[in-house]
Subunit: 406 residues, 4 copies
């Protein structure tokens, strides 16, 4: 996991790793340092006897939001911290990795058992930042009028494919269990406790919404029709003058989109991505459908095929759905906005200590997304995984799967 | 209902009815006109043959948010429209009332049946604005350094009472029906369809949280303890420098609060009010509890006693709970923040036409409140009634009832 | 003077006198009270033995900007103070007037001599607020989509006239004396000390710039040509999307303007008004000219004819220039932007005490305007009078006179 | 000159050269590229036959404010352009330098004569950006909690010295000539035309205001005394909570300041720097003095000694004044705020073409500073040189020299 993070940064120069394009995004250099600080602070400093931080004064720079750990550089100002340099941060990573490996090789079984949960959390935490490195760099590079390329896609990744069309898959509802089975491996605190819900019959679209479908919504005046939008969504569309997904631009009458491989024409067979919740919701209303509840989605996902277009494919962009039976693209390609506000599961308790700030305090004003994306590591995602963003966020690989009452 | 609105405005001068204290609030003059425009637009113009609006060009001034009806004065600028004058708006009200009564007296049974639903909606809509007149005027007068009085409370309303203390009332949960029974009288579209939910056992506090309890939270550093707050709540507390509920101010070491009867000392036995969702949530966490789900609340409310401190009591402020068995203050006194985001019920469909904008488009980013307040007309409230506000709103009579897992 | 203020407010209702349309403008009710507070605070409280303020707590409401006098309601929030009512403010005016007259009738010669300067300042101060009542009400009414009328112009005031055309009047420059002659009657502190300046030969346009000329500037793309504008002006034009003077609007291809008599077509023979400094400067550049220095203007004004279109004419709008020799419209019609930043004259000293805040502290970031307008009382203006506003201000009756190097 | 720019950047890493700390400041990388673009655009593209820009699409990135040259990256977003990299910008510099030298070595006398003025302007323009590199980097590094060092001062530069104390030097005034003598070498357009002014007798402080004096102002409550401040200055002090010059911070009761050599204690003998016009003006009022007019300053500077603490000294910070007769520190150490708004000299005409945007369009809302600073190249400054900034700007090496009427 640690090496994968560095591989993502390998294509970037010191300048690319320094800049911050907006308050929601962070510099790659900061991601590299923060994920390391996590291990230093929550593993080494706690579990390794006599360990002292390499540069204690840097904790202030690399803390993200842990109030319990103390003051920190305001999020919007991370791009102004030019020292330590990228090279120094790389040395910091190597130092902490060495210290961790040293300690792991000499730790007792009891020590290892005590540290294992937070090490595991640290690795999953680092995978989250791997995805953010890609989405934050994409946003940064998109602002450059030269439209630079992060990485050309691997040859095999972009094999041409045609959209097989949308079908509806029905589910009976009833009382279903939601949340991660405690024994089923790692999960974040927000996936627990597993509990029962009462669902009505519903159906889901067999694959993600395509650019072709979304272009029809645009052509039909979707962005100019108030009755399709939530009130807050309509206000947002007007204030920010949205008329297409993020990264789309019309040049000489044809829609182009900026990708991690640079600017290229829209492929109508691909899933639409970089839409906000407001756009996903308005599109669904236009299409005579709705978005799924997160419980419906999770219930359906348990029977869907494994595999998918994750970061390992090298495509770094969603791909057309396979032409196959059953639900496709539930995992990978794009995160799927659900209609579910991000709230605690019944009986939810945040962990004790600073890690208790990991999830619980964000359970307000955000919506749940499910399923991972083309920027998510394959080993990071699962059916019970809950991601969450504000309804106006568009810089993640977020897309649309339609749902309906059955 | 129409006369009750005018009675609320009777204590106000033309200046009081003109001013707008913030974008969320509206001038009383506007409330008087808008509720009349509702009847003129949705009843007279539709159902009365040959009716033309008294001042067609005023529709632009009095439309609130109906995109389908056309352009309108931006909400924040209502206080800048000085003409028509208050007297002219009163004439407008009288004119529309006369027209309505004339038409009602001559309409056929079929005509009446066609118009009845929208007339009923118009009356309930007007009751909503009655409550807003009180909360908006309270906010406006609170900004005046002279701390003027809207109305002295009726003598009997302020009978001294002591807080009987908090007990916990348990509920078994299970599959419960939520939403208004279709045959049970008027309800708004957002209370339907009635549907089943699966609840876990829970308990509710027997009465609203008191000022005494809230003062303990303040004294314990509640407003300065990050770990008690949702992330967005903590950011709000810091940005707006909140350190007490709205309308509270410390003068020479003692807490005072501004009421519709002017500034007076905090009564520790009274329910705390004018708190945001963030404050209600933080208080509950501090108290080792949580807020109720709206389904839990509704399930519990069906068995609770009738009556309560509504606008008709003349108190215009929440009162200490009665010393009695069972749940108290479920209706009246203060709206109760629930932990439920405001979302559509399964199978919800907004009505056709412009009135379809009444509720559905607001189902994002807001939280449900239940139970009505001391500013709500008694005939307006019911167990299934869903009110909703943004989590930072404080100018309504909003309060706190604690809940716990059983 | 006191009666003239009340006459201006006589055409307004309590609602009109209550509302505040923007932070730069104040409610008429506030103007009525503030000018009275000035006499109460600086005359009665200082000079009348035993006088105590009628409502001491109102001082907080009516102080404008005198830091030395203490706290005050923030300027932008004056429109939210609904009590005292307009009627109560009128009683306050009557009370203070009676008290002043009582005291004047019994005061000794020494007492009168001590109070005379501040009484005279108070009257000139009130005349300034008379002009502001008109410009502030004009701005307020302009926001009402009904475009209401403040007052129909007097019949004789709007006698048709044709623009006589622009001629250039030359002046030799040299060493000239600027500033009010100390013995020549009342003047504000900013008009002193009289001092000498060295001027180069220059010439002034014989009359104000007309709407016809300004329409040519618009038609020639003046608002879209960056090279005509100061950098800050160009940024302002783009940010606020200016494309014409304030109160102009294009309806069905024809320019209309809102006046105190309602909306009416542009008269091309009239002087253009409600332009910012940026627009005046850009227009002058487009016309191959510049604005005058305030010293040039004052030097020229001393020989120009008396009379002019002041508030007493009842036109309440600038009128076409007379067809006569020499400089026309130097006084009245519109204030004339000069190219002179508002700075202290050499040797300037503000008066001692709170009245020292009257002018000096504003001598930064503003530009001098000269000559008075159609909203200025005739007895208020003189050649040495210095008015000043920020370069983006447009709600005063501000216009353009061209100048050139000779 | 070109090499000096690169020497200033030599101490900086790619990260330091990438980041932009505020809209007023630019990344060093941008300064390096923009100054090169100036030569490419205004010299090579105009004068060298057949020259085409190395990367034509980069013009969009490097244009600063020339509307005539076309669109450009908004100023505040320069820090988000990570490519081209610093190395690529250095190659761009080398390429343009080679092209220039090639062309110069082969150009005819007529060609050279045609290009000489713009080459000379380009070199002076680059010197302006040399100073900005230092002030912008200082601001950037100051935001880093680690308080990093740009460069240690040269040993000899920081020789200890004591403030010799302030004396007053008198000048008789009269008719004086202001502006650069046309034959006296290079000057910017805003220093012309030379013209006569009438000055009254005045005196100037013999040296810049020291930190000791400024600490007295602070200790005397200067930042909390409204009557000392211009109205806009007082509003700024309160809104930004200023209580000392930029880069000053109180740690454990002692004032420290951030310098290009890191954080160190205030030396009371040094000139105070990084003050706004508002602070300079308030300090002068507190001291019973005023700031000089730019004409007074220029008149006095012509007789003052040569030399001074410029960028070549290596101090990169103002130094205590020499103990010598006459005016000291007129050139170098800190820019001196004058009380003169930045306006055109009588008869000023901007040059034709795009370079006409160099100065004229900024002649509004700014104040003139004179004399250069410890970050100014010695060959760049002269008595007639006019610098200008907004009154709230503090990140330049700006200081205070007192003046008085004689």
């Amino acid at each position: 996991v640690r090496r994968a993070t560095e591989a993502l940064a390998a294509a970037l120069g010191a300048e690319d790793c320094q800049a911050q394009s907006m308050p929601d995004a962070s510099p790659t250099k900061w991601h590299l340092a923060h994920t390391t600080w996590f291990f230093e602070t929550f593993v080494l400093a706690v579990h390794r006897r006599g360990y002292t931080a390499l540069h204690p004064e840097h904790g202030y720079l690399y803390n993200s939001y842990y109030e319990a750990i103390g003051e920190r550089v305001p999020r919007a100002e991370r791009g102004r911290i030019t020292r330590p340099s990228l090279d120094e941060v790389r040395e910091y990573r190597a130092h902490v990795d060495r210290q961790l490996l040293d300690w792991l090789s000499g730790a007792s079984a009891a020590e290892l058992a005590a540290a294992a949960p937070v090490i595991e959390t640290g690795l999953h935490h680092e995978q989250q930042h791997q995805e953010l490195i890609l989405t934050d760099v994409k946003h940064l590079l998109s602002l450059n009028p030269l439209k630079p390329v992060y990485r050309k896609p691997l040859a095999q990744a972009r094999a041409a494919a045609r959209d097989p069309g949308r079908r509806w898959i029905s589910f009976p509802g009833g009382v279903v269990s939601i949340g991660q089975v405690p024994s089923a491996g790692f999960h974040f605190d927000n996936e627990a406790p597993r509990h029962e819900r009462l669902l009505r019959p519903f159906r889901l679209a067999s694959r993600l919404t395509t650019c072709r479908e979304y272009l029809e919504f645009i052509a039909d005046g979707g962005y100019a029709t108030a009755s399709l939008w939530l009130s807050d969504g309509w206000a947002t569309v007007q204030a920010r003058r949205w008329c297409a997904p993020l990264y789309w631009e019309e040049r000489e009458g044809a829609w182009q989109q900026f990708t991690l491989a640079g600017l290229r024409p829209i492929d109508p067979d691909e899933p639409v991505t970089h839409v906000s919740y407001y756009e996903a919701d308005a599109f669904a209303r236009w299409a005579g459908a709705r978005l799924a509840g997160e419980d419906e989605w999770e219930c359906a996902a348990h029977g869907s095929p494994d595999g998918g277009n994750f970061v390992e494919s090298g495509a770094l962009h969603p791909l057309p759905a396979p032409d196959a039976d059953g639900l496709q693209q539930m995992l990978g390609d794009t995160w799927e906005w659900t209609q579910s506000p991000y709230t605690p599961y019944p009986g939810y308790r945040p962990p004790a200590g600073a890690l208790g700030e990991y999830n619980g305090k964000f359970m307000c004003n955000q919506l749940v997304l499910r399923g991972g994306s083309c920027a998510t590591p394959a080993s990071h995602i699962r059916a019970s995984y809950r991601n969450f963003f504000y309804p106006d966020a568009r810089w993640q690989f977020s897309g649309i799967r339609l749902a309906q009452d059955a």
